[in-house]
């Protein structure tokens, strides 16, 4: 009897220990910010820099008024370019209300910007009948030395040719691109390496939906996990005469998943640019490029991992000379832990990516845009993640109401009229942005608050660029229904190297150029961006932090296939490299 009592006591003690362990481990999982000395200082300098852009949300057909704040919570985009070839990065913001103006902020070289969108002819693109802007990507599609602008919309795509004199001409119809899509991302790429930039535009909602003249309300996803009733993605081949041809079906890239983010890089090292898609309500997709003749979906460990992909960022996380991938997703305490994906590229060795996100990397809230960039020039790529979906009434929360239909049969929630009214409720609102410092094998740590990033706006698009030519990456965040943020990087870091590439045999923007910089026994690889993240495009100039090392060999693999090796580049400098003819 005594023995039995002792045993019962032991079991009870183990039971209580397990209960306590749950509480302790949960507190650890909740995370927190790192209190270590920060090497990144970011100061919100938007207003002082002359950027007072405020995104305005789209208005929709009253038939879906019950969930309009949910459906229409998109459209704050930002992209970087050097629109006037003056060597200083400029910024283009999109807004989404009819009559509201997009903004083109031209760098004044003195720490300020000036909005020239109206005089340039790229402001008033949000018009009834034409649709509203959701984002934009820059690329020199006609190789004339001027960056042209593709605005993707819920409505007609719009291609605006940069005339090189401060003005743009709308060449959409002539280019054969006047297509109605409900798109939230696009990327420039040269998929066939013919020296001409092609265009991949993704569809989110179906393209037969006109959000201002709905014929019925069956517009939503038919599954939260494996939806395939989204808009069809389209690939347009640049024919070189100012026109594009739809080659989607012949190339096999017409996914109808709900794509929100896309990025292009040579993930499998075969010399051809591949397409990586982040899909809402479904698994990510990687389309491997077979010598520009066709794309094939890769079985790379992605197809069964269904989440709510919002953005794709590409970066060489551990300086292995590989393009790894970060895809944002949703986490909400108690309701849903999808978690962001940090996928380490083992395609050439194992034929797959390994997903390794944990802690602060996995759980950033309702995460949207994200980009890699070395914020402290220590030689490791850090991550900035924008978060928060709908910040409205802080006392009302839509998560419970949404959970009622989230587990239901698809036929129910495919029809928007069956959704509970969101009213003034918030949905993962007031979430803060994350600044995740890469410590190599020690993992990422969130330093946002230490670094000075404390905003709780509904972040969407993130870009990083050395806006003031100081050798430090600054951060710009476009917020839904909120003001844009420009975080000026005032931290002290290590050495750096910046490369501006100009294509000759390749597309002049050098989009897709693959650069590996060796330093201190490691090599970091980056690709010139034709669009990535969410509704964003990073600067085409590549920025490499070097720590306390000097740059070693720099290898450029141009989109044309030309390989160029450079040695002895001066650190702490911007180098303009022209492709050998």
């Amino acid at each position: 009897m005594l023995k039995l009592s002792w045993r019962r006591l032991a079991v009870r003690a183990a039971f209580i220990a397990a209960l306590v362990s749950v509480v302790i481990l949960n507190a650890r999982a909740a995370g927190g910010t790192d209190r270590a000395a920060a090497t990144v200082l970011l100061r919100d300098d938007a207003h002082a820099s002359g950027i007072d852009f405020v995104h305005q949300e789209v208005t929709l057909d009253p038939k879906i008024a019950n969930i309009a704040p949910h459906v229409g919570a998109l459209g704050a985009g930002v992209s970087v370019t050097d629109v006037n070839n003056d060597g200083w990065p400029d910024l283009y913001f999109t807004t989404s209300r009819f009559g509201a103006a997009n903004a083109l902020y031209v760098n004044q070289h003195d720490g300020t910007f000036r909005d020239v969108a109206a005089e340039a002819g790229v402001a008033l693109l949000n018009r009834p009948g034409d649709g509203v802007s959701m984002g934009a990507v820059w690329g020199d599609y006609d190789n004339d030395g001027n960056e042209d602008l593709l605005v993707y919309k819920w409505g007609y795509l719009q291609l605006l040719r940069n005339l090189g004199n401060g003005h743009f001409a709308d060449v959409t119809a002539r280019a054969g691109l006047r297509r109605w899509m409900n798109s939230n991302s696009a990327v420039w790429l040269d998929f066939d390496r013919d020296g001409l930039l092609d265009l991949y535009v993704t569809g989110y909602f179906r393209s037969d939906i006109d959000f201002w003249h709905l014929t019925d309300t069956r517009i939503m996803q038919q599954s939260w996990e494996f939806a395939s009733n989204g808009g069809k993605n389209l690939l347009f081949k640049n024919l070189g005469n100012g026109t594009f041809r739809d080659v989607t079906d012949s190339l096999g890239v017409g996914s109808t998943r709900w794509t929100l983010g896309a990025a292009v890089a040579d993930f499998n090292d075969d010399g051809w640019p591949d397409l990586y898609l982040a899909n809402d309500y479904g698994p990510e997709e990687l389309f491997l490029n077979h010598e520009g003749k066709r794309f094939e979906p890769a079985r790379a460990g992605l197809e069964d991992d269904s989440k709510s992909g919002m953005a794709v960022a590409v970066g060489d996380v551990y300086n292995r000379g590989r393009h790894d991938v970060f895809v944002t997703n949703i986490s909400e305490r108690g309701f849903l832990f999808q978690g962001n994906n940090l996928r380490i590229n083992f395609l050439t060795e194992l034929g797959r990516f390994d997903e390794i996100a944990t802690g602060v990397v996995a759980d950033a809230g309702w995460a949207w845009g994200a980009q890699f960039g070395d914020l402290n020039n220590d030689g490791l790529l850090d991550l900035v993640v924008a978060n928060g979906f709908i910040s409205a009434d802080s006392g009302r929360d839509y998560w419970y109401a949404m959970s009622k239909i989230a587990g239901a049969q698809g036929d129910i929630f495919e029809d928007a009229k069956n959704w509970p009214a969101i009213g003034t409720a918030s949905l993962s609102g007031f979430e803060r942005s994350r600044v995740l410092l890469n410590r190599g094998q020690a993992g990422f740590v969130d330093i946002a608050e230490q670094a000075g990033v404390t905003d709780r706006l509904d972040g969407r698009a993130v870009v990083m660029a050395d806006l003031f030519n100081t050798g430090s990456l600054d951060v710009v965040i476009a917020n839904e229904r909120g003001r844009a943020l420009l975080y000026r990087n005032e931290g002290k870091g290590g050495h750096w190297l910046e490369l501006q590439l100009i294509g000759t045999r390749s597309n002049r923007s050098a989009i897709g150029a693959d650069v590996t910089v060796e330093f201190g026994g490691v090599r970091q690889r980056q690709v010139v961006d034709g669009g990535s993240g969410f509704s964003s495009q990073n600067d085409r100039r590549l920025h490499f932090g070097l720590g306390n090392k000097a740059p070693g060999r720099v290898t450029i693999r141009w989109p044309s296939g030309t390989q160029q090796v450079l040695n002895g580049l001066t650190p702490d400098s911007l180098h303009v490299i022209t492709e050998p003819r």
Binding site: L4, R7, R8, V11, A14, F15, A18, L19, S21, V22, V23, L25, N26, A27, A29, A30, G31, N66, S223, W224, E225, F226, D304, D305, S306, S331, R333, G334, F335, L336, F337, Q338, G339, N340, E355, I356, A357, T358, A362, D363, G395, R396, D397, Y400, A401, S403, K404, I405, A406, G407, A408, Q409, G410, D411, I412, N418, W419, P420, A421, A425
Partner: protein
């Protein structure tokens, strides 16, 4: 989520018939295999290995340690699979599966009253994880594709097996109460009626109505009592849902899974009351009563 007691005599439909436990084992295995094959509902086999391994090991060890004999592991198997399907933690962490599995099985040996455990094991574990570890655990993020066809198959098998296991009245009472209360909730909160009915078409409710709320080991002894209890669970769930609709922040931790948490509250109270009542009645008639078979 277990259907038969570790130490109780197995109920059978008739002499020579299949033990209902094994029908439930078959059904939950069907759910697992179909869901995993079609929708990868597990999110990693290590999760299943962890819950199954810990549940079975804990059951075998604790039964031997405390009772001197190892019990049938069917119950632990069902609990293990249920936890693997229902627990959806923050990315790439396994401890909720391991600790949840241990807590589920250990609760049968610790949280007892008059030698009967009060909570359905997986219900206890999940409820505790949801309330104590909201930063780490959610419940069933996967929705099995929101596909009507696979859900119809599971409902058909589930109803058939519930009938064979003589718990169909529990399932049907809950479903009927849910529907009626959904209509009442709709009258109170407004909005589309389908939004209120929608939850019961989802996979979490399949697990709930076929494996958890019907668990004979943690339901009361009489048919009428079981009907009253399950109706009370549905009623409390409706109250939680209405509170959710009215944004009562005090109850927010309960909004993540109203049915599971309603059962976690009502179930043990009903069991305690039933055990106390039946034992007192038995004692009044016989000073040395045998165990009641239900």
């Amino acid at each position: 989520m277990t259907v038969a007691p570790a130490q109780a005599p197995a109920r059978t439909l008739r002499a020579g018939a299949i033990d209902p436990r094994y029908l439930i084992v078959f059904l939950i295995t069907l759910v697992l295999v179909a869901g995993e094959a079609r929708y990868r509902i597990l999110g990693g086999y290590e999760r299943l290995a962890t819950t199954l391994g810990v549940c079975i090991a804990a059951e075998l060890f604790l039964s031997w340690w405390l009772r001197g004999r190892m019990v049938n592991i069917a119950s632990a198997y069902i609990t293990g699979i249920s936890l693997a399907l229902l627990i959806k933690p923050q990315a790439n962490i396994l401890w909720p599966f391991a600790l949840g599995a241990f807590l589920a099985i250990a609760s049968k040996y610790v949280l007892v009253y008059r030698n009967r455990h009060l909570w359905n094991p997986s219900n206890f574990a999940i409820a505790f994880l949801l309330l104590a570890a909201p930063a780490s655990v959610a419940v069933l993020s996967h929705q099995w594709g929101n596909d009507l066809r696979i859900n119809l198959v599971i409902w058909a098998f589930g109803l058939l097996i519930a009938a064979r296991a003589r718990v169909l009245h529990v399932t049907l009472t809950y479903v009927a109460c849910f529907i009626v209360l959904a209509m009442i909730r709709n009258l109170i909160v407004g909005g589309p009626l389908l939004a209120e009915l929608a939850p019961i078409t989802g996979p979490m409710y399949q697990l709930f109505v076929f494996f958890m709320v019907t668990d004979p080991r943690t339901t009361v002894s009489t048919r009428r009592g079981r009907i009253v209890v399950v109706a009370t669970v549905a009623l409390l769930e409706a109250v939680i849902r209405i509170a959710g609709d009215f944004q009562l922040s005090l109850l927010r931790p309960f909004y993540v899974s109203p049915p599971l948490l309603a059962l976690a509250i009502v179930g043990p109270i009903a069991m305690w009351w039933d055990l106390r009542r039946t034992m007192d009645v038995a004692a009044a008639h016989d000073p040395d009563p045998p165990r009641r078979a239900r």
